[in-house]
């Protein structure tokens, strides 16, 4: 037990403190920093692989008391350990890759520090043993990814970063609410296999809140808007990690929350179908958008969203099917791993191309297969993986999800989902044909004559990932039995459900049929698209969610920052009035006091001769004083209102005295009203 605890603590704390260390070392020596970052990552990778050995059998839980009813707890189980290992693996590849990629970049110390911080947080999320811990690391991850995204510090990066932060915060809030509700309903915050004894409605609310929270991170439509902006602007290793690992955190969270709230036994058809539709829409829209992109990284980013759609679709199927849904969930988990591998690989290769050519626009590249053969080959492998071609890893997981779809039934909306699924597969294939042909085939432009293959430290990462893509594609069965099945058991699927999927045939006739169809669709889309220039189609801006988000943000901005001319005008008028009044004040108060004594004297003897005079005096007195009060009240009110509307106070000079007097008069009135009310009530 103690050993596991130390192991866990090391895994999470090593990158955490390593981050500080790296930042400190960074100012001393770049070399030392690189070695330190690399060794930290590799050591963590080794430790996670040791950790995986402990993950068989019952989950091991360690923690320390943090809040009442809630401790910070880590658990070692097949699912956590698998994802942690995956994280460490891809992180190592990306870290090695980045040494060359970022060679001439500024702020490298910050980059590596936050890279390690995010690493720690990411591991923390996957290893978390309850929702509190998960949330803690989730939020740290959210924040620590920001410096990675805005690393280039140009306008685009900041815009994307701001969008990212806003979305992440919204997501965090929803998530926190969901967790708190969960805590209130169940009395603890541990992962479970279904809440018992609560109404469906409450469960749905909790899941919706958590789903939004995680969905933002996972880039599920309509919360994806930050993703296509943020992933391309980040430096390539960071985008590889963002797309490869960090968005998995969201999906992982969705799976965790879904199974904690509903569990396999208490599945809900409603929730299942909602999730399925969210998944399918995400898949379809994102792949459609991906086809229209020129920027390679942006295209990959859209594909990330699309692939998340696959996973969410699988999760939805699992929720829909309940106990029977083990296959669908297994497919999803499988796809998480696969996507992590091939998408990171793709980002890294595209990054390598960018590193050599300085160009991300696919239409301006070409013929690089001869200049960068290894990169081209790795890209091909990863593309085949993502396209779902047999012998590469994507095929197995996609087929599993597709098979699970078949369990839903036939006809009706399920049929539509089926069709959309195949169309999406076709779209994916088309866009990767497009990527490969545009970038690597054809004739190279003149200026890329001297382009060499990527450097060795870059290639190490890329090749490691490509090999994994290939390896998983060749031995899907092994992977299934060793990694996915224990994981399913951990999530609450019992013996019968598991035994039926102990072996799955992924090369049935039906599967090959749909593969062929989707290949055909892909080629069709590609040829038609290139022939008729459909890939250059642009929709009006108001068509996307992004536009509305920006409009809203703009509105808020104007509300908060803009001064309209109207306000300016009114303010100046109020100021003038007050100033005039102050100019008069000196004389008028003197007159008021004098007038007062006169009025009081005259009131004793009212003779006819005096009546008019007295009247005039009294009138002047009252009018003067009332005027004074009313005017100052009103203009003070105006001034106050307008001032509070207009942004900067320093511009306008107000006489504070008058203003505060008004305030006090207001309060006096309030006091009087209070007095009268209380008299009425008591008397």
């Amino acid at each position: 037990m103690f050993f596991q605890f130390v192991l866990l603590a090391t895994i999470i704390l090593l990158p955490l403190f390593g981050a500080g260390l790296v930042y400190w070392v960074s100012s001393k020596s770049a070399m030392l920093r690189n070695y330190l970052a690399a060794s930290l990552t590799i050591v963590t990778l080794i430790l996670t692989s040791i950790l995986y050995c402990f993950s068989k059998g019952e989950a091991i839980v360690v923690g320390y008391p943090f809040l009442s009813f809630a401790e910070i707890r880590f658990s070692i189980n097949p699912m956590s350990a698998l994802l942690a290992f995956l994280t460490a693996f891809i992180w190592t590849a990306a870290t090695l890759y980045s040494f060359t990629y970022l060679k001439s970049s500024s702020n490298q110390g910050r980059f590596y520090a936050f890279l390690l911080l995010a690493f720690s947080a990411n591991l923390g999320v996957f290893l978390a043993g309850n929702f509190l811990t998960l949330f803690i690391f989730f939020e740290i991850l959210g924040i620590s990814a920001y410096p990675l995204i805005v690393h280039n510090e140009d306008k685009k990066a900041f815009k994307a970063g701001a969008k990212y932060l806003v979305m992440v915060f919204l997501g965090d809030i929803a998530l926190l609410m969901g967790i708190l509700l969960y805590c209130k309903v169940t009395g603890n915050i541990d992962f479970a296999t279904g809440i018992k004894g609560t109404s469906e409605y409450i469960k749905f609310i909790i899941f919706a809140l958590m789903g939004i929270g995680f969905g933002v991170k996972a880039g599920v439509i309509p919360f994806h808007i930050w993703l296509p902006d943020a992933h391309p602007v980040a430096p390539t290793p960071a985008s590889a990690l963002l797309s490869g690992v960090m968005i998995k955190v969201g999906v992982y969270g969705i799976i965790r929350s879904l199974f904690s709230i509903f569990g396999p036994e208490q599945s809900s058809i409603v929730v299942g179908s909602i999730v399925i539709w969210v998944g399918i829409i995400t898949m379809l829209v994102a792949v459609f958008m991906a086809l229209l992109q020129e920027n390679a990284k942006k295209m990959l980013a859209y594909h990330s969203i699309s692939q998340m759609g696959y996973i969410v679709l699988g999760v939805g199927c699992a929720a829909y099917l309940g106990v029977e849904g083990a296959l669908a969930l297994g497919g999803s988990m499988y796809h998480i791993v696969n996507h992590a591998l091939f998408k990171s690989c793709l980002f890294l290769t595209v990054g390598a191309v960018y590193y050599r050519t300085g160009e991300l626009n696919m239409y301006k590249l070409g013929g690089l297969v001869k200049k960068m053969p290894i990169v081209a080959f790795c890209t091909l492998v990863a593309s085949l993986g993502i396209s779902g071609v047999p012998l590469f890893n994507g095929y197995a997981s996609k087929t599993l999800i597709h098979q699970a779809l078949a369990h839903l039934g036939h006809g009706g909306w399920v049929g539509l989902v089926n069709v959309l699924f195949i169309v999406t597969c076709g779209g994916t294939i088309a866009s990767f044909i497009k990527l490969f042909t545009l970038v690597f085939l054809g004739r190279a432009p003149k200026k890329y004559e001297k382009v060499k293959d990527a450097s060795s430290s870059m290639l190490v990462g890329i090749m490691a990932l490509a090999i994994m893509v290939f390896a998983l594609g060749i031995f899907p069965g092994r992977f299934w039995t060793f990694f996915i099945l224990p994981l399913l058991k951990h999530l609450g699927y019992t013996g019968t459900a598991l035994s039926s999927i102990r072996t799955v045939n992924i090369l049935t006739l039906h599967d090959i049929q749909s593969l062929v169809i989707s290949l055909a669709v892909g080629i069709f889309i590609f040829t038609v698209g290139t022939r008729y220039g459909l890939f250059h189609l642009r929709f009006p801006r108001w068509f996307g969610v992004n536009y509305w988000f920006e409009q809203f943000a703009l509105g808020v901005y104007f509300l908060l920052h803009e001064e309209s001319h109207l306000i300016e005008m009114h303010t100046s008028r109020a100021t003038r009035e007050i100033k005039e009044m102050i100019a008069k004040k000196g004389r008028s108060t003197e007159a008021l006091i004098e007038g007062e004594s006169y009025v009081l004297r005259s009131l004793i003897f009212i003779s006819k001769r005096h009546v008019k005079k007295i009247y005039l005096r009294v009138e002047t007195y009252i009018v003067a004083r009332a005027n004074y009060i009313i005017k100052s009240l009103w203009s003070g009110f105006l001034a106050k209102t307008y001032r509070s509307l207009s942004a900067s106070e320093t511009k306008k000079e107000f006489n504070l005295y008058i203003e505060d007097l008004n305030f006090s008069i207001f309060l006096i009135l309030f006091l009087l009203v209070l007095c009268f009310v209380s008299i009425k009530l008591i008397g």
Binding site: L67, P147, F158, V166, L560, L674, S678, L681
Partner: protein
């Protein structure tokens, strides 16, 4: 509950008070002045910790009544609630002394004796308020606090500072007028050890009168806690020297307002009565409005200190909201957020002051690139901001965790909405500053000729560190806060 008569509470107030008076006569002797200021702060901290140990040992009230005549009793009494507030203030007072000495030396070399005299007096009075044993003592010290802070607000002696001082006084004194009315209308609270009882106010005086009294109390204390319609004074006085804005107007003074509201609801009316009167909702709306207003205004400020001041307006309403929800969990959350705010906002203000001293920049828009020039200060600012936002592993998160459970327990969706909106806006207005500090490109190249030494950096770092340490190991603090809540909610 047992009672224990001790002179420590009054000593903890009177001794720093007397030292504060002595500081006025130090004149040109700067060393003696600094020495006396630190001694006063350390003494009060020592005495407060002595009280803490007394309370822990016996779970007793520590009481010290001084009778001045029929119906006119001054009395000091310490219980968990009071000690909680006194502890925060005295701790941060000690932390802020080195900073203040250095800051004043650099920024306002003139009439420092006056400044430190009133600074000590204010802090001592703020601690005294929390140790008051009845409403009369509370009121008396409360008003003195207002008066003693006035010279600090106008310390710069510019027309703008004088104006701010005027505004400050008008707002607070009006509040005190209401408060006096309420205090006098509940003369049973002028007796000795009045706060030992809970819900002493008799509900026989009629529900309407109760409402009037409640409103008067809330307005009276609320103006100091900067609740919504009366919150504008707080940003205005951010013109004062930074130690004042930091310690007094972000910690001591506003906390005293919150403390007053807590006393009113927990002791004077009692949870049960407040619940049956249904005024909790009223308070929820007021504090909610304050949160929204404060954060929206903070978003618009370009002046860093004003932004932070509006952020104080926003943040200081969380404890009130936690109280208004009338649930123990929410109260725990509120109190924790109060501690968070005290530690971190102090640090943030001190960061702002340090930046001002170093570079002369006070506007947010001018701060770009400071992060690289002043890495320590800026990093502390960033961590402090994250802590206030409620990032996990900071104290802010712990507070948020408990506070957010409040509306769920009591079923008040509007409160939940306020919390959410507040959290988002808070993140916006604080993180924008961090963004400017670290990421925004600066066109202007500026010189940092003054070197900040540890006396200024230490309090900044200490505050942030406290926020982090308590955020990772909240058990001890939770125990204290639970002690406070248990006195009123039982169990």
């Amino acid at each position: 509950m047992n009672q224990m008569v001790s002179m420590i509470p009054i000593t903890a107030v009177a001794l720093p008070f007397l030292i504060g008076i002595a500081i006025f006569f130090t004149g040109k002797n700067k060393k003696l002045m600094g020495f006396l200021s630190s001694i006063a702060a350390l003494l009060s901290l020592a005495l407060v910790s002595a009280l803490y140990s007394m309370l822990v040992r016996g779970n007793m009230d520590v009481c010290c009544p001084i009778c001045f005549g029929a119906g006119f009793t001054f009395c000091f009494r310490v219980d968990w609630l009071g000690l909680f507030f006194a502890g925060i203030t005295s701790l941060l007072w000690v932390a802020s002394i080195p900073y203040s000495i250095k800051y004043m030396e650099m920024k306002f070399p003139d009439s420092r004796a006056r400044f430190f005299g009133f600074f000590t007096l204010s802090a001592a009075t703020a601690i005294g308020v929390t140790m008051a044993g009845n409403m009369l003592t509370l009121f008396a010290l409360y008003e003195l606090l207002t008066i003693f802070t006035y010279p600090l607000v106008v310390h710069a002696e510019t027309p703008a500072a004088l104006k701010a001082g005027k505004k400050y006084l008008v707002y607070l004194l009006i509040g005190e007028m209401f408060l006096l009315f309420a205090v006098l209308s509940t003369p049973e609270f002028a007796g000795p050890r009045a706060f030992a009882k809970i819900g002493l106010i008799s509900s026989e005086i009629g529900s309407k009168m109760l409402l009037v009294l409640f409103c008067s109390y809330i307005v009276g204390f609320g103006i100091k806690a900067a609740i919504f319609p009366f919150s504008n004074w707080l940003p205005t006085v951010s013109i004062a020297p930074t130690p004042v804005t930091g310690l007094l107007h972000a910690v001591a003074v506003v906390n005293v307002g919150v403390y007053g509201i807590m006393r009113v609801i927990l002791n004077v009316f009692g949870i049960e009565l407040v619940r049956s009167m249904g005024v909790g909702v009223l308070l929820v709306f007021i504090s909610g409005a304050t949160i929204i207003y404060g954060s929206l205004m903070a978003l618009r400020q370009d002046d860093l200190k004003r932004r932070l001041a509006f952020s104080t307006v926003d943040y200081i309403s969380y404890p009130i909201l936690g109280l208004a929800l009338l649930s123990p969990t929410a109260l725990v959350g509120g109190l924790l957020l109060l501690v968070t705010h005290a530690f971190l906002k102090l640090s943030l203000f001190f960061c702002a002051g340090a930046i001002d001293i170093q570079t002369g920049k006070t506007k947010v828009s001018e701060l770009s690139g400071i992060g690289r020039r002043l890495p320590f200060v800026s990093t502390c600012f960033a961590i402090g901001s994250l802590g206030l936002i409620g990032m996990p592993l900071t104290l802010g998160f712990v507070g948020k965790w408990y506070l957010w459970q409040g509306p769920m327990e009591t079923g008040q969706p509007s409160a939940m909405g306020v919390l959410i909106a507040g959290a988002i806006l808070c993140a916006f207005y604080l993180l924008y500053v961090v963004y400017v500090l670290f990421f925004k490109q600066s066109n202007v190249d500026f010189v940092c000729d003054l070197q900040l030494n540890w006396t200024m950096l230490f309090p900044i770092g200490a505050g942030v560190l406290m926020g982090l340490v308590f955020g990772i190991f909240p058990k001890g603090l939770l125990l204290l806060v639970n002690n406070v809540t248990m006195c009123y909610f039982g169990g």
